[in-house]
């Protein structure tokens, strides 16, 4: 056997084996997500959240919302946060050295004064320039922190230092939360006495083209633009299938930085958010899990499938590319920091399943896909085309489409946010087009993410948003 033939066979069978394992994971994820979602929906039918909304026994929660140059929308966003239904709730806005008038707007709108405040340095952070409270008792829940610019992770750490609650909820200040979002997110922390729930996440949905009024979601629409629409499908797939399945196994590694609740005591014990990574949300969850595993304390990371948080998805390839580049770097940095857990039985599911899955199918998948496609192109032009590899590739693409269609079916059977039949058909069409139009771009962005990391480019990447108001006007 010549080395070329050997290489060709190794390439083909390597891809075949990889695809088979991936397919097995898809099947498992689908099955587990059905079981977990069914179980959640049954349990939720007995839950009366009104009871918690008024109870003084409910655990104390603090919303931490870092803000950087959010001047145009900050007033509405804070008003929306202050109107959330939850009795024991505080809201902390952290102005992370904004260059615009974010702080001035807040001071004016909420009648703030600079308060003498003793800041406890439980986690080391950049300097806090001032802490503001309101003269108006209506806003007694609100605290605004002004600090030197240090990035999202540093801003959240300041918030953790100042919060006094048992739990904190970190959100992106421009996200729109459902009124009962905190009630629902608080529940997992109270449900079990045998395990300590260290964190809980909720579903994030795409808000582009939705009707937003006064910081509240009024009506859900499928995004009009192609790029946000395709991300809608992506979010459904990720949240309704993948995260639900991993929750079933208690192997969830990621809680979205846009919306997640954490046990403050454990976070402080772990040292808070790491400021030297762009994937601080995933890194924190992994570190918290590792901390609990090493202390052999029973714990859980909860996740609830209700659509609780709505965010604006990037609608240009430039911004989307930056986001995916950053996500890739964040994943690699996290996996690298915790490589000790890789196939380490001491870490149970975390070491034997969750970490390897993320390594092989989140970190390596885009690289393998990129090299596979490149290989097929090279073989094509050197007359050594291996049709077996091509057909395997077609099969993998079809499985991907099948998986997306299954995700849409799950959405229809459960939360059914897009009521019109034509919207569902549009999503199906998007599922069919995705592998050819969107997916190659995502793979390419991930490859660029790897290159950026090798070149030690560690920037966050500017995330310009159009804002919901623009969408509303366009309707």
């Amino acid at each position: 056997m010549s080395w070329q033939t050997f290489l060709l066979h190794a390439f083909t069978y390597g891809i075949l084996v990889y695809s088979m394992i991936l397919l097995t994971f898809y099947l498992l994820i689908g099955s587990f997500s059905i079981l977990e979602t069914r179980s959640y929906l049954h349990k939720n039918s007995f839950t009366d959240y009104r009871m918690l909304a008024s109870s003084s026994e409910a655990p104390t929660m603090t919303i931490l919302a870092p803000a950087y140059n959010e001047g145009p929308t900050i007033i509405e966003n804070v008003r929306s946060l202050l109107s959330l239904h939850y009795n024991n709730l505080d809201v902390i806005i952290i102005n992370d050295g904004s260059k615009d008038d974010t702080l001035e707007q807040l001071i004016k709108a909420y009648d703030l004064y600079k308060a003498d405040f003793y800041v406890t340095q439980l986690i080391k952070t950049k300097t806090v320039k001032g802490i503001y409270r309101s003269h108006n008792p209506v806003y007694r829940k609100l605290t605004v922190i002004d600090k030197e610019n240090g990035g999202k992770a540093d801003a959240l750490n300041v918030g953790i230092n100042i919060a006094r609650s048992d739990y904190f909820v970190c959100i992106d200040v421009d996200c729109v939360l459902e009124q009962d979002a905190i009630l629902k997110l608080a529940k997992p922390f109270m449900e079990t006495s045998t395990h300590r729930v260290i964190a809980a996440g909720g579903v994030v949905r795409v808000a582009n083209s939705c009707e937003i009024e006064g910081g509240r979601l009024v009506k859900v629409h499928l995004p009009k633009k192609f790029l946000p629409r395709i991300q809608t499908l992506e979010y459904i797939r990720a949240f309704l299938l993948s995260r639900m399945a991993w929750t079933r196994l208690n192997g969830l590694l990621l809680i979205s930085g846009a919306f997640g609740a954490f046990d403050r005591e454990i976070v402080i014990a772990c040292g808070g958010y790491h400021t030297d990574t762009v994937g601080e949300d995933m890194e924190l969850v992994v570190r918290m899990r590792r901390y609990m595993e090493e202390r052999e304390e029973p714990y859980k990371v909860g996740f609830i499938p209700d659509p609780l948080c709505w965010t604006e998805a990037p609608s240009s390839y430039r911004i989307l590319g930056r986001q995916r580049n950053r996500w890739t770097r964040g994943t690699i940095e996290t996996l690298r920091s915790h490589k000790k857990m890789f196939f380490n039985p001491n870490y149970g599911i975390l070491g034997m399943l969750s970490y390897p899955y993320w390594f092989f199918f989140e970190f390596l998948a885009p690289i393998i896909e990129f090299l596979g496609t490149l290989g097929i192109i090279i073989y094509f032009f050197t007359y050594a085309i291996n049709w077996s590899a091509v057909v395997i590739m077609i099969i993998v693409i079809c499985i991907g489409i099948l998986y997306s269609i299954f995700a849409i079916l799950m959405e229809v059977l459960t939360y059914n946010q897009y009521k019109q039949r034509k919207d569902i058909l549009k999503l199906v069409l998007v599922a069919i087009l995705e592998p050819f139009i969107f997916h190659p771009f995502v793979v390419w962005s991930a490859v660029l993410g790897n290159i950026s990391l090798l070149r030690k480019q560690n920037s966050w990447g500017e995330m310009t948003r159009q804002g919901f108001a623009t969408d509303k006007k366009s309707r």
Binding site: H42, K43, S45, F46, D48, M51, L52, S55, E57, A58, P59, A115, D116, F117, Y118, V119, T120, Q121, L122, R133, K187, F189, M190, E191, T192, S193, T194, E265, F380, Y383, I385, N386, W387, S388, V390, V391, I392, I394, I395, C398, I399, I401, L402, I405, F406, I408, L409, V412, L413, R421, I424, V428
Partner: protein, 367 residues
């Protein structure tokens, strides 16, 4: 170019047959999923029309029961409203009607609520719920208990008591809530026997249900001895909420419990139920506790600290935890009439700079 074409064609034919089956299988699966989804949406749309009609019928029955005081709902009216719908055979309608009645019942009280219960029984819906108590699926059993409780079908209390120790937590929770709703504080008797943990969520629910009842006498003492630590925690919450001052010593004993959650709850409980000796109990155990519990203790000292505790609290101003220092300073200020002056005096003479703490507390006091 021709060579490339020929090569591609021949090699394509060789490999195609082997994998066609796999590809075809996936495509068939895809078509099946899509067909199922479309069919589901069509069926759902058609059901929506039917459900709208059923909802109108349900609303009509509920409206008559709730608002027509003079003319109580009877079987004739029910038959006339139901028309051709057979309640026995049509379980979907039965489920919808039951749901509507339950939902209405939760929002009304008094005579209208009595009339709804009457309607519920007249329709024999309680029989179906009772039958469901033995269903193998946990959520059917739990729903049946919930339904019977909401509709105040009280003859089953003894039977429901058995479910308070069910292996399924939701069945258990519904049964425990049912007992409290039917028997008030006496319903808490399940705490004597429950072997499974009572989650924080369930404890909040039970306290909420009890808050709707007039205060009554009940003995928490036996529950402090329970081997189930969640029962002890709940008993402490009961003692705190219902000001059981006579239980002070039993509560103080819980400060030595092996379960940290019980100890924490006991500390919080002593914030409401305290005597002159309470701070001694806390100070005596302070060094043995974790920082979290120490912070809770110092926060309690803010309420019950006296001049006797000033020395202890002043020492804590040198503690390594900033949070504890701040809380100790607060407690110090509250411990005597001249607390603030004492703190300021200490600040001036101390080597440690606590100016920011003093400013912080001054600001709090001015609000």
């Amino acid at each position: 170019m021709l060579t490339l074409k020929t090569h591609l064609y021949t090699s394509f034919i060789i490999y195609w047959d082997i994998q066609t089956i796999a590809l075809a299988g996936i495509v068939i699966l895809m078509v099946c999923l899509l067909s199922f989804m479309l069919l589901y949406m069509l069926v759902k749309a058609s059901h929506e029309k039917k459900h709208t009609h059923w909802r109108l019928i349900s609303d009509s029955l509920i409206h008559k029961a709730v608002f027509d005081d003079d003319d109580r709902i009877d079987e004739e009216f029910i038959q006339m409203t139901l028309g051709t719908i057979n309640l026995k055979k049509n379980k979907y309608f039965r489920k919808l009607l039951t749901g509507e009645i339950i939902s209405a019942k939760k929002n009304i009280t008094g005579a209208a609520a009595e009339n709804l219960i009457y309607l519920y029984r007249l329709l024999n819906l309680d029989k179906y719920a009772i039958k469901n108590l033995n269903n193998l699926r946990w959520y059917v059993r739990a729903r049946a208990i919930h339904e019977l409780t909401t509709m105040q079908i009280s003859g089953l209390v003894d039977h429901l008591h058995l479910f308070t120790n069910d292996s399924n937590e939701y069945v258990r929770m519904e049964a425990q809530s049912a007992l409290v709703q039917f028997n008030g504080f006496e319903g808490l008797s399940f705490l004597d026997t429950v072997a499974y943990p009572i989650s924080d969520w369930q404890q909040i629910k039970l306290l909420q249900l009890l808050s709707l009842l007039p205060p009554s006498t009940f003995d928490t003492a036996p529950w402090f001895q329970s081997e189930n630590s969640t029962v002890v925690v709940f008993a402490l919450k009961l003692a705190r909420n219902y000001n059981r001052f006579e239980q002070h010593d039993a509560i103080a004993k819980c400060l030595d419990h092996s379960e940290p959650k019980v100890r924490l709850e006991a500390i919080l409980c002593l914030n409401e139920i305290y005597t002159d000796e309470t701070s001694d109990h806390l100070i005596g155990r302070f060094l043995k506790e974790s920082l979290k519990h120490q912070l809770a203790m110092i926060r309690v000292m803010q309420t019950l600290g006296t001049e006797r505790d000033i020395l202890f609290l002043t020492d804590l101003l040198n503690h390594e935890s900033d949070q504890l220092k701040l809380d100790a300073a607060r407690a110090l200020v509250n411990a005597s009439k001249n607390g603030m002056a004492s703190l300021e005096a200490y600040s001036k003479q101390s080597e440690q700079d606590i100016t920011e703490i003093v400013m912080h507390i001054k600001r709090e006091m001015s609000v």
